[in-house]
Symmetry: C2
């Protein structure tokens, strides 16, 4: 195995990728090296910035430098002692329509120069193409991929099999399955550049997730042409492991200053909001007086610092189990990125399957996008398929979430425990206490220390979608369990009666009694008295015939 996964969160992972020139850590960004115009020398990228690998274009090398990189070897030619990747000219096919070499020639050249990671000569689908055109590019890519295994002669190079199909997700899905069935070491999502240029990060998210579902999970996924740090966190969360960036240099040429939250043009800047070794030495004003070439190198190096820091931030977030929080934060760099995050909802079961269920950190819940988090999906699945309330409990006592967690240790629960003591051994064992809480829904009190039911913080007041989710979970839970009746302590201030309405609806469907008491209207002492009366009424009323539970019983 060339790729070993060390840690993961969502679909992101920290991995070790073994190349013939050494092991590199993923998520990994390959700065693009253009040997003709290179603002930062390759070895400096490694020694000063810490980039372990670079990428260059085999097609362009062959065209411009012919056999020199073969004679010198790619590493010597680039003067770089880390890992090298080569692209094949596929992007040039997309831009210029065709390239002047065959796949056979490109593969032989990539092997000849001794790159560590190499790409076959696939056919990019592009953006504004019909499904028929797209299908042709996919078919030809697959033909070439199969043919490639007859061409290759070296076993020490990691080969990349790109997945094509563009925005046509069924084609992407087919392509991922076909490419995934071939013995590539790495996959790539073909030419998402135009998708990104059109700010269709939502489409890109669907493309990445569709590709991920088709390729073997143990192979890294490269996202071609994604070089802006504002989207790294989301792309990693969706399962991308490798990136390449020509942007750091191209942006620098135009005086475009990258940050993890967007891009500025130098003339717009009054301050450098950055601590990088470059930015702490200048102000936008002092830089403006420097020669153009110096400015370009300044911005290129700043851009590289921002990229490498963002990758470290992402890795630390994976270690902490906080990649969602980072991705959600970054999705506020541009509405198109938030639109991408919103698409995860369509794939939440897939995320829940591959994301770890226990983490080092608690969970911060902000906006309804968070409902797609694997922790929430996983809890819902566990509760509704594996949980049954304690034996002999007949009455569900539903309480609103408390500020302090775990709920059973909150001061509000003291009065409830007193009440249960007063109700005594005849009645108390028949009562099952559960809490309704955002964003998880119903939490049986005896489970409230299970991760992450006590390890989360939620922004209040709640938004409508979150309240609705908790209401739906409440309804679903009551319908599925076999309680004889439900008593609820309502908190209309936070929940606007939505949970009450949902619980009532479920009880009506099940044909079981439902009682609700508003927490806000009465004093604490009076409330407990009311609760006691209601519970006794529920417990002593002859058991009705509940409608059979809906599932899993």
């Amino acid at each position: 195995m060339s790729f070993e996964i060390k840690d993961k969160d969502l679909l992101g992972r920290i991995g070790k990728l073994k190349t013939k020139s050494g092991t590199v850590e993923t998520p990994l960004l390959f700065p693009v090296i253009n040997p003709s115009v290179q603002p930062v020398l390759p070895q400096r990228l490694k020694d000063v910035f810490g980039f372990e690998a670079v990428i260059t274009n085999a097609y362009i090398l062959k065209k411009r430098f012919q056999n020199r990189p073969i004679d010198e070897g790619l590493h010597n030619f680039l003067k770089f002692n880390g890992a090298t990747m080569t692209d094949s000219g596929a992007y040039q096919i997309l831009v210029y329509g065709d390239v002047e070499y065959t796949q056979k020639e490109i593969v032989a050249y990539e092997e000849g120069i001794g790159t560590d990671i190499a790409t076959i000569l696939d056919i990019p689908t592009g953006w504004r193409v019909t499904k028929e055109q797209a299908a042709l590019t996919v078919a030809e890519t697959h033909r070439r991929a199969k043919d490639f295994f007859n061409l290759k002669t070296r076993d020490d190079i990691l080969w990349v099999g790109p997945v094509q199909g563009g925005k046509h997700l069924d084609l992407v899905s087919d392509s991922a399955k076909v490419m995934g069935s071939l013995p590539f070491n790495i996959h790539a999502l073909g030419s998402p550049t135009e998708v990104m240029e059109n700010y269709r990060y939502d489409v890109l998210a669907e493309m990445i997730l569709t590709a991920k579902k088709g390729i073997p999970v143990e192979r890294p996924l490269h996202l071609f042409g994604a070089g802006h740090p504002s989207m790294f966190a989301i792309a990693v969360a969706l399962g991308c492991d490798l990136f390449d960036s020509a942007a750091y240099a191209l942006y620098a040429r135009d005086g475009r200053y990258m940050t993890e939250n967007g891009t500025w043009r130098l003339p717009e800047m009054d301050y450098f909001p950055c601590t990088c070794p470059r930015c702490v030495t200048e102000t936008p004003k002092t830089l403006q007086s420097k020669p153009a070439k110096e400015r370009e190198i300044f911005v290129a190096e700043h851009n590289l610092w921002v990229c490498i820091a963002e990758l470290k931030r992402i890795k630390q977030a994976i270690r902490d189990g906080r990649l969602w929080e980072l991705a959600e934060m970054r999705s506020h760099a541009h509405p198109a990125l938030l639109s991408a995050l919103k698409r995860i909802k369509n794939h939440k079961d897939f995320l829940a399957t591959f994301s770890p269920s226990i983490k080092n950190s608690g969970l911060f819940y902000f906006n309804p996008e968070g409902l797609a988090r694997p922790e929430i999906t996983q809890y819902k699945q566990r509760l509704l398929t594996r949980y049954t309330p304690p034996t002999n409990t007949k009455t569900l006592l539903l309480l609103p979430q408390t500020k302090n967690k775990p709920f059973h240790k909150a001061p509000e629960m003291k009065k409830i425990r007193q009440l249960l003591r007063i109700l005594g051994s005849e009645f108390a064992p028949k009562i099952h206490v559960a809490v309704f809480c955002a964003p998880f829904g119903i939490v049986p009190l005896e489970l409230d220390e299970v991760y992450p039911l006590s390890q989360h913080e939620t922004a209040l007041p709640l938004d409508k979608e979150t309240i609705e989710y908790v209401a739906d979970q409440t309804c679903e839970y009551i319908k599925q369990m076999s309680y004889h009746n439900v008593t609820m302590l309502n908190d209309p201030k936070l929940w606007n009666n939505h949970i009450k309405t949902a619980a009532q609806k479920a009880c009506t469907e099940k044909n079981i009694p439902f009682e609700a008491i508003d927490a806000g209207q009465v004093s604490s002492r009076q409330l407990i008295t009311n609760l006691k009366t209601t519970l006794l009424k529920q417990l002593t009323t002859p058991t009705p015939t509940p409608t059979p539970t809906t599932a899993n019983t």
Copy 2:
């Protein structure tokens, strides 16, 4: 005037504060100097990091160093040639109950050492106090504030008048008015430390906004004890100009590594997600092997770099008119910060009054918190109080927002213009075209290039609150204007029929005809034919008697 406002956004501003030791730029952070244990020398704070001012505690100076700072002068004593601020011991009153000097002694000492900015000896309200206790602290602070003007002898020092009242907002409001009526140069919000320690940033937001409403807008507001960079952006957006931070040093002592998005403890870290001159030279592992004192200085300096970069980011955001975007991003560092942002809704008219209405940048709309943005409030106010549809228009033609902006230049509008041409000079002038769009509501087509109606990007799909806001605006608009009938092109996919329902409701109330055509169900050609038929029907039906408009007509 000691304070000159250079630029502003929301309630935040970039200002020049003139002190006797030079002019400093706000928002400004004063690192706290503890002359006994100081991990970073004051002059280094200025020369290397760029901090223009520091703060120290006059009470502690007097207690520990007696007359030495008087004899040497504060600047020489601290070895610092920038601006100095002194606190008075009020915080020590909060912590220890009392201090051993009178206000007279403290004021004389502050004048004696020659500080540039000085604080009176107010009485902090604190957090867990009853309203009665709080009222006493406020009354005593006011008494001392008035008394202070009999004590002061120097006119070259900028004096700070703290606003007290704690979480009791009516007391804060009174205090702000009383303190604001006295000739202080600067105000401060008294001891918010405990509010922050309890993560009640929502309460803090209310306290700040309440204070801001009472004090003169042209005086800077200092937020005592707020030293974590994750909350600077929100605090500045709420109108805070000055901050002090002991946190950079206190956190460093415990190995707590600040970032603009939260805090790590050193042993939890595998990566330094930072480009500061310190962090690019070490990894958490290499740092761990260094002596404790060296680690402390490392973290203190890192913390300072993060703080100064965040202040630059905030200033750049004010220049760009993007402070909301930055504050919204930062509010995703912790749910308690988002809860603070959510409170702005209660004060949106206040924000709209003081925030500029034309900006350099477009507006990014993400989540319903954004509905509190001044741009949205300002547009609503202008539309409903100052706008009347073009004369002689009788039919409102409501169209869904287009992807391209300005709306009237979008490809979809070409067909509508054709339709109006076909309808000809008899009917077309009677039709008024308007677009319903998130987050603004109704945009009359002739206004769509007015800032920011074409200069915004919105994350799709829309959330429920935003759809509801647009629906409410649609209802309100129809009710208020004097159209004879309304025809609507419905886009149920994006809007889930909410706009249609709202428009219908308004028409029913006004007793005017309403027609809606679903855009999704028919081909573009058929749609235009249907629209034409419907419009002709509306225009040729005898005018009903509309119920009188509800306001401003």
